[in-house]
Amino acid sequence: MSSIGVTITGGSDGGAVLIAVAGEIDLSNSEHVEQQIASFISNRTMHAVVDLTQVTYIDSIGMRVLFGLATSLQTAQIGLKLIAPIGSPARRLIEISGLDVIVDVEPG
């Protein structure tokens, strides 16, 4: 749904889940983003890939969602990979906040 400036789509292929986020993530929609991403991941998921290529804005509120996701998936022993092209808004924030230290980040 795109009601709040962001669209989240997802699909699974065996044990792998691919989730794509497009649009802006801020205080007004971060809970929605968090719930939507979680809704695509089950306890049968082996690996989750979150594609942030189409994210046009993200700040510490959005990073909180990603850090939270990284922590909970680590606990559940589910692999996580983020896709964020070099120079993209998401990549810049991931690097500033050090999320790339604990999660695999690929340019695409």
């Binding site: 749904m1 795109s2 009601s3 709040i4 400036g5 649009g23 802006e24 801020d26 205080l27 007004s28 929609n29 804005y57 993200i58 700040d59 510490s60 509120i61 990073m63 909180r64 850090f67 939270g68 120079g87 808004p89 810049r92 924030l93 500033i96 906040s97």
Partner: protein, 531 residues
């Protein structure tokens, strides 16, 4: 009806009622007036009960509105479908009915049966041949109502109908106007520096109609501008307008595509109110890209004046009005809206005059629209097209101007401190930064730094009462300076991971400083634009 057929005493009795209706009760509202009349009627006709039921058109049923003798039917909101029972039969057949025997086969209303009413007489309340309601009287003792009784009651009913009709129309007019006023945005929003002006004038001949306009920020930060016109007049049109306006706002939360929104509104209208029809223009303004996306549902085209002085009626594809069944997809057209443009939207009441060809009026409108502040444009359009002649139809006019302050002119914005404002702040900032030639990484960094400061103010500056955030953006050599001020009480961010915002602000700016004072918190941000 002739007085010659009246017995002498009936004429005398009628005179009593007449004096009461015409003078002393002139200032009373409908209910009080009816009660006064029923009191008189009970006395003059020597009956035990008298009641007025008014027709509720949407449900085609009679609603007990005033009663003397057996007041329960009003208090309990008795409803009698037209065509059924005693009162329903009077309304359906538009003639007097006499009952000399009350039971469940003749009277639907159990209250009358329970109270032991024996004989009844009722007549329709007619206004211009249309049934407005029913007036009936009843007695506990068996009574044979005479022809004279029927004629007297009908005379009273005619007066009641006249007075009721006049007062209902007045009430309806006031209600419609109040509804209209409550729905037109009194204060237009301050968004991305776009300026607005608007006028609404109710029609002189037919009163308030279903014209409306609306301006609001969408979740994406884009600006939604609406002009619409519900077919019909009066309270009913105003009520449908109110529903359409809310529906449209709701669907504007789900998509940014004008044709998509209108299509959903159309489906909702056809499903729930298949008898209603409306025309509408819906425009979504993306000021960052000097672009307007617009879709027309049978509505007259807007006038666009560009900064270079050219004025034209927009040549848009026009799709069917809302509420009209059609199998085609609605269309959205992209219109370039360069800085300084003035856009003028209106309803047909502005341009339609029975005596003047429409093309002449449209030309007149084009020449009245100029590149100026929206208030002046509204004044010019109303002066030229309305002048001193009260319009027959209602008129809505909305004028907006895209700012053209030149790149680098300081930007001052004030927003409500709510999460939904954040996208609007970004939209305004993006546009400003692009216009001073900022590159992608500078734009992203400034947006993030300002986003951190403004989110923080939204989350922490105010209690539940809320407040505002002021953002000032200016150029200082090769740097952009942004000041984000709230006038709330500083509170340290709560929750896990909130310290990350400070780190992000440091990393995305060349200088960042927070001043906390008794009157609020101000965050200063400086960022070079050329890297």
């Amino acid at each position: 009806m002739s007085d010659l057929t009246q017995p002498r005493d009936a004429t005398d009795r009628l005179r009593g009622i007449q004096s009461v209706t015409d003078a002393a009760l002139a200032h009373l509202d409908v209910e009080t007036l009816l009660l006064e009349l029923l009191d008189r009627l009970k006395e003059i006709l020597e009956v035990d009960t008298a009641a007025v039921l008014l027709l509720d058109r949407p449900s085609n049923s009679l609603v007990a509105t005033a009663a003397r003798g057996i007041e329960e039917e009003v208090v309990q909101g008795v409803r009698i479908p037209v065509g059924r029972g005693f009162a329903g039969r009077i309304a359906a057949e538009k003639r007097a009915v006499i009952l000399d025997h009350v039971d469940h086969t003749t009277v639907m209303n159990p209250i009358l049966r329970a109270r032991g009413i024996n004989s009844m007489l009722g007549v329709p309340l007619l206004s211009a041949g249309e049934v407005l309601g029913v007036l009936h009287v009843g007695t506990l003792r068996p009574r044979e109502f005479t022809r004279a009784d029927v004629e007297l009651l009908q005379l009273v009913a005619d007066r009641v109908a006249l007075a009721t009709q006049a007062r209902l129309s007045e009430t309806e007019r006031s209600a419609a106007l109040a509804l209209q006023r409550s729905l037109l945005p009194g204060r237009l929003p301050l968004i991305s520096g776009v300026e607005f002006g608007a006028r609404y004038v109710p029609g002189a001949a037919e009163g308030v109609g279903g014209d409306w306009y609306d301006v609001f920020a969408m979740p994406s930060g884009a600006l939604c501008v609406v002009m619409g016109d519900v077919v019909g007049r009066g309270l009913r049109a105003a009520v449908v307008m109110g529903r359409l306006r809310s529906t449209l706002r709701a669907y504007a939360m789900t998509t940014d595509d004008p044709a998509g929104i209108l299509d959903l509104v159309d489906r909702k209208l056809q499903h729930f109110e298949p008898d209603e029809m409306a025309t509408a223009l819906l425009a979504v303004l993306d000021v960052n890209h000097d672009l307007m996306r617009i879709s027309s549902a049978g509505h007259p085209p807007p006038v666009l004046a560009r900064a270079d002085g050219t004025v034209s009626m927009l040549d848009l594809p026009v799709d069917p009005p809302l509420g009209v069944r059609h199998g085609r997809a609605r269309r959205t057209t992209d219109i370039e809206l360069p800085p300084g443009s003035v856009l003028c939207l209106y309803t047909d009441g502005l341009v339609e005059r029975r005596t003047i060809p429409l093309d002449d009026r449209l030309e007149q409108l084009e020449s009245a629209v100029m590149v100026d502040n929206p208030e002046n444009v509204c004044a010019s359009v109303m002066r030229s097209l309305v002048g001193a002649d009260a319009p027959a139809d209602d008129i809505a006019l909305l004028v907006l101007r895209i700012p053209d302050d030149g790149p680098g002119v300081p930007l001052d914005l004030t927003f409500t401190a709510v999460p939904a404002s954040l996208a609007q702040i970004r939209a305004a900032l993006r546009r400003w930064l692009r216009r001073v030639g900022a590159g992608d990484s500078a734009v992203h960094d400034v947006l993030v730094a300002v986003g951190e400061a403004t989110s923080n103010a939204v989350e922490h500056a105010y209690g539940p009462a809320g407040g505002t955030i002021a953002v000032r953006v200016e150029l200082d050599g090769a740097d952009v300076l942004v000041e984000i001020a709230d006038n709330g009480q500083w509170r340290e961010p709560r929750g896990h991971g909130r310290g990350r915002g400070t780190l992000i602000m440091q990393m995305t700016t060349d200088e960042f400083r927070v001043e906390r004072g008794a009157s609020g918190t101000t965050v200063f941000v400086r960022r070079r634009l050329d890297r």
